[in-house]
């Protein structure tokens, strides 16, 4: 289990974000949600942390990983925190 909660940048009702939410919940990971606006131009905070204005994006301080794109994120979470069984 990570020590610092994973910071999860998301947009309300965005299916790609929900996909990440499901994986975070499935792996019982500790995370904090930061919601941003639908308009890309209003997502400077995401751009600052990830270099892009797309969501979902995560910042996992315990591994030093910052990542965008739901498929990448889901893979990463599974690889890093899943499969311990």
């Amino acid at each position: 289990m990570s020590e610092t909660p994973i910071m999860f940048y998301r947009l309300q009702a965005c299916p790609f974000c929900e996909r990440v939410t499901r994986m975070l919940d499935e792996l019982e990971l500790d995370y904090r949600s930061r919601f941003v606006e639908p308009m890309h131009s209003e997502r400077d905070v995401v751009k600052r942390v990830s270099g892009k204005r797309t969501v979902p994006a995560i910042v996992d301080e315990s591994t030093g990983v910052t990542m965008t794109e739901s498929a990448n994120i889901v893979d990463y979470l599974e690889r890093t925190y899943g499969g311990s069984a």
Partner: protein, 172 residues
């Protein structure tokens, strides 16, 4: 503040959080100019004194007046205080208000008005059936959420006595 030349309505007396009480903790989305996330009041107070401002829904004229006045007084530069607001407006509206008023303050969003109920300051709005919001109120809290100063509207509409708030801030 301009003198308002129209009739005001007396609000009923009721018990509410007062000076010396510990302000009830709560967790709600806290909105800044870029995003929002769940934060508790105690997260905010743990860094030092907080001025918690309950105000009418974003878009009502008192919201504009209150935030213009507080912004112009720049209390956060003179005193060791963090200013946060709370209204029933949703996070999207809060982001707009922050932009329109040009304020650096964060705003809690409480559409169900349950925080106001906890504080004893709910105000059912006549003519807006089913809509309740906080009475205008200002609470100055120390780092353990003890109320150092409280002002709660007794009339509607009514504005805080900003000089009195400032006096309380200078006693921090």
């Amino acid at each position: 503040m301009v003198e308002l030349d129209f009739d005001v309505v007396d609000l009923p007396e009721r018990d509410h959080v007062e000076e010396g009480d510990v302000a009830p903790d709560f967790t709600r989305p806290l909105v800044n100019e870029e995003f929002w996330e769940d934060r508790s009041l105690s997260d905010v107070t743990e860094d030092g004194p907080v001025l918690l401002v309950f105000y009418t829904m974003d878009g009502a004229f008192p919201a504009t007046y209150i935030w213009n006045e507080i912004r112009d007084r720049e209390w956060e530069t003179e005193f060791d205080v963090r200013i946060v607001g709370l209204s029933i407006s949703d996070p999207y509206s809060h982001k707009r208000l922050i932009g329109e008023r040009g304020i650096d303050y964060e705003l809690f969003s409480d559409p169900n008005n349950t925080v106001a109920v906890e504080y004893g300051i709910p105000n059912d709005l006549d003519g807006m059936t089913g809509v309740s919001e906080p009475r205008p109120a200002v609470y100055l809290l120390d780092d353990e959420r003890v109320v150092e100063y409280a002002w709660v509207a007794e009339e509607w509409p009514q504005f805080p006595d900003y000089d009195e708030v400032e006096a309380a801030l200078s006693e921090l």
